[in-house]
Symmetry: C2
Subunit: 123 residues, 2 copies
Amino acid sequence: MMPADTLNHMVLDRSPELDRVFHALAHPARREILRRLSDREQNLSELSAPLQMSFPAASKHVRVLERAKLVRRRIVGRTHVCRAEGRPIKRATLWLERYCQTLESNFQRLDALLEELKAHDTK
Amino acid sequence: MMPADTLNHMVLDRSPELDRVFHALAHPARREILRRLSDREQNLSELSAPLQMSFPAASKHVRVLERAKLVRRRIVGRTHVCRAEGRPIKRATLWLERYCQTLESNFQRLDALLEELKAHDTK
DNA sequence: ATGAATGTCAACCATGTGGTTTAATAATTT
DNA sequence: AAATTATTAAACCACATGGTTGACATTCAT
């Protein structure tokens, strides 16, 4: 028999990593940071400058991205250089694609059913 | 010249729809609800039953999914039948894929640069 | 007409989020 | 040694989130 918390995982679709990734993506400032980091590495000052909010606020957003492992930081002297990380995004994309797929396959199933009913009616 | 808030849109990558979609996906119970709705329509009672939380809590989760337009509800007598909606997910997937793409193309660019440097060294 | 089933609403609570400001720490520059 | 730069830390605030319970409205079945 499966342990109880494994069952919970199944019923609640738990995945703290996915939680963190999607939550990180749910704020415009953080998507903006990612967009800029996808082009090139940038340190915190560069990242925060265009973000019409205080430096500490921007810094917190970066940390949310780090918790989700969407961003890694290496410290060079007094500057913290941030770099976008690809792996977790791919997991998220996978979830979405799998979801879309079952959705569509069931739409197709429904369409087929409707077709069949229509054919049956006109018979 | 562009109006000021258009500029803000660009700098902050604003998109309330994306905000809502990603936020909706950031909770295990809501992903679970979606997973089940991707198979077939279900009413609130059916949805809430396996979710180890009170009925009103589950109902609130469904409403978060509705705000994000990931779920639509039609009322049939006393039951509220929920159905998964595909479009907004596709927008989110698109964002992720576009992001992944620029990320990878820049990794390739970096790799090319490194190759070039290496070649230069051994010359 | 009663009663059970389905769902909403409102009030409440604890905790998280997103922002601020001010102060402190650490590395560079002058 | 002093000033500047890059960043964290802490305290605070308003509001959102995620959950509960209890009371209410509708609809369906008996």
